[in-house]
Amino acid sequence: MELVQIQRRLVDYTKSLFMEGFLDAQFLQLQQLQDDSNPDFVFEVVSLFFEDSEKLLNELTIALDQPNVDFKKLDSHVHQLKGSSSSIGAQRVKNACIAFRNYCDVQNIEGCLTCLQQVKQECYLVKNKFETLFRLEQQIMASGGSVPTIELGF
């Protein structure tokens, strides 16, 4: 595929992610922080997020599996996940965390379990999206082109 086509695809793809709510403006901030002195910043941060979130999701699963669920601990983990997901702009994950916390507040285990599933699902989805995004970026770089920046004009 031609470089220009790939670039166009990347732009469209990124825009669609915003449209669908996977990403929010915070992600743009991340992109802006990436520069020559920090060329892989976005990739690094996102990777770090998925590493960390995996651990958190595991902890959450274990915590909800206990006979006596420790809601405080649960809330603490979800809170952290919410913080990190919002930091990279993973909007849907963040929203799922917010819903999750609401159920924690009222100590509704069923609700929490459902929310956990949702959070996992959203993490999985956005992870795939990111992977596609990075792949496209790599293709562009490999072809010698530069990654186009997105303006949030919509």
């Binding site: 929010d24 403006a25 915070q26 743009l28 901030q29 991340l30 802006q32 922080l33 920090n38 910043f41 690094e44 941060v45 770090l48 997020f49 590493e51 960390d52 603490s76 809170h79 952290q80 919410k82 913080g83 990190s84 919002s86 930091s87 990279i88 702009g89 917010i98 949030l152």
Partner: protein, 565 residues
């Protein structure tokens, strides 16, 4: 005469290179924070453990600490306290949780700011102001203590309180002195760089602070009069005026900030504007406190009237708004609030209004409160009430001898009652010098009237919870804003100034500019709406807005604000 700028004395490239220690157990956030801070050209050290952080702080020199609230090995608040006591460094709290009570906790533990995650670079760009403020206070204290007998005497008596207490008291006294000086020098203020101006003077020592807070809590909001607090605290030489005022200010600032934050956040969500970040970031702190300290006595009265009531605002005489009148010293708390408010109002619109309080002085000042002058959050500074916003709202009150104004307490009524339509979080008119914590009284004109009111305040939401605001932001923003432009713009104006000029503040500035033209008209409008305002409880009807007279005003303001940036 203004104390020479600390900035000039420390580093020519200030704030480049200030040493920041970032503590957060979340690796993603920590990396992001580090990168953002480096982008701001600060000297960053990071750690994910509080214990390590303390070690680093003891071994090395830092200028500022940013730490997360939730940490596994130590509570963020505890770390905050320790840092404050041991090293007396400005500490900024960071959290994804913007609940009022958490923010309040941050304030009571001495944080000089409270940022919400995700952190934005605009907010971090302004954190250096805390460093300056701290330094200035220290300098001033030293300077003043030499020249002020009173201070010396006080400090002598404060010895019993311990060194920190001493310092705090000293500082407090200084503040009074400063305020007096400021007042005399109003004329000079205008020319100063807003970002340096009127930084908070006194820094409460942690000890005094906790005593203060304990006393207030004990008394309850209603009874928390300075006198009683003073008694409870049983601290020598604590002047009611000073402390209470300052504290209220802080609270109001916090509230203000909260509002601003909320506003910022809200603005952000619907509009995707990034500008508010700064607003949000910096103000998050104090909101909680805001609500909890209603102006005493006066409140009752005010509540019945619409009006901007700035709850818990220590209206203080210190309202030094750029107007030159820097500190409107109110003999009592109530007047403080009021003066605060009125100060705001007076500045622009209520020129003719007989403000019982010194606000009158305000009027004479250039309506614009220099935001720069606003006290910065952590210490109780005088906050220049940005009158512009208030003016608009207050004018309505002009009829009654300052209903809201005179009563001395400008309360931002939870616009819940009225807010039906236009509720928007009005960026708390917190005047911040820096972006963070300023003790602004969030003046959120609650405009009940239709959503047209550009300046709509949502006192309630603001007070409650930045978090709440955030979540509800999208809805709120969209519905009430019929005159969409304005509200948004207003908010946007907040972040505008790099110095985190709070919304109100910005407005003030703008107001001042426009006041000439707007003043009279708004005034007229106000008188007309006076009644209506009064009728509405707690709501400041921004009649002018409705009439459209202010709209251009607002927009102008916004534009001005933008330009100010």
């Amino acid at each position: 005469m203004r104390v020479e700028r600390i900035i000039n004395e420390t580093n020519d490239e200030f704030p480049i290179g200030i040493r920041v220690l970032a503590v957060d157990d979340d690796p993603t956030c920590l990396l992001l924070l580090e990168t953002l801070l480096r982008r701001c050209k600060y000297n960053v050290t990071t750690t994910n453990q509080a214990i390590t952080a303390l070690k680093l702080l003891r071994q090395n020199k830092f200028d500022l600490v940013i730490c997360d609230v939730h940490m596994p090995d130590m509570d963020g608040f505890k770390l905050l306290e320790l840092v404050g006591l041991e090293m007396d460094l400005p500490v900024i709290m960071l959290s994804a949780n913007g609940d009022t009570n958490v923010v309040m906790k941050g304030i009571t533990h001495g944080a000089c700011d409270y940022l919400l995650k995700p952190v934005r670079i605009e907010e971090l760009n302004n954190i250096w102001q805390h460093v300056v403020r701290r330094k200035r206070f220290e300098r001033k204290d030293r300077y003043n203590s030499n020249s002020q007998d009173k201070l010396r005497a006080d400090s002598g008596e404060a010895v019993g309180m311990g060194s920190i207490g001493n310092n705090g008291k000293l500082k407090k006294k200084r503040k009074d002195q400063d305020e007096d000086e400021e007042r005399d020098e109003n004329g000079h203020h205008n020319n100063e760089d807003p970002s340096i101006r009127k930084k908070p003077r006194v820094v409460w020592s942690a000890e005094l602070h906790s005593k203060f807070v304990a006393a207030v809590n004990q008394l309850g909001m209603k009874n928390a009069t300075p006198k009683k607090i003073l008694e409870l605290m049983n601290v020598e030489k604590l002047t009611t005026q000073n402390k209470f005022r300052l504290y209220l200010k802080r609270i109001s600032c916090a509230a203000n900030q909260q509002v601003n934050i909320a506003a910022a956040v809200r603005m952000r969500s619907p509009n995707g504007l990034g500008n508010f970040h700064t607003l949000a970031g910096s103000n998050q702190l104090h909101n909680a406190a805001f609500r909890s300290f209603p102006p005493r006595g006066v409140l009752g009265r005010l509540n019945t009237h619409a009006g901007l009531l700035i709850r818990g605002l220590p209206s203080r005489g210190t309202i030094r708004s750029g107007h030159g009148q820097s500190s409107v010293n109110f003999g009592n708390d109530q007047s403080k609030l009021q003066s605060f408010v009125s100060g705001i109002h007076n500045a622009n619109i209520l020129q003719g209004l007989p403000m019982s309080l010194e606000l009158d002085q305000v009027q004479t000042n250039n309506g614009v409160s220099h935001i720069g002058e606003l006290p910065i959050a952590d210490s109780t500074t005088v906050f220049p009430v940005s009158s512009s916003l208030i003016d608009a709202t207050i004018t309505g009150f002009s009829g009654n001898p300052l209903l809201g104004v005179t009563s001395h307490s400008l309360m931002l009524e939870a616009s819940s009652q009225q807010a039906g339509n236009s509720r928007d979080i009005v960026p708390a008119i917190g005047f911040r010098n820096g972006n963070t914590s300023s003790d602004f009284a969030p003046l959120a004109p609650a405009s009940n009237r239709e959503s047209n009111a550009d300046l709509q305040c949502e006192p309630i939401p603001i007070n409650c919870n930045a978090g709440e605001l955030i979540t509800s932001a999208p809805q709120e923003w969209n519905s009430p804003y019929q005159s969409n432009v304005t509200p948004c713009s207003m908010n946007s104006s907040i972040p505008v100034s790099g110095t985190m000029v709070q919304f109100g503040l910005c407005l003030d500035q703008n107001n001042s500019m426009d006041s000439d033209s707007i003043g009279p008209s708004s005034f007229i409008d106000n008188s007309a709406m006076e009644q209506s305002i009064i009728d509405k409880e707690g709501y400041l009807m921004l009649e002018p807005w409705e009439q459209g007279s202010h709209i251009p005003y607002n927009i102008g303001l916004l534009e001005d604000l933008w330009e100010l940036q």
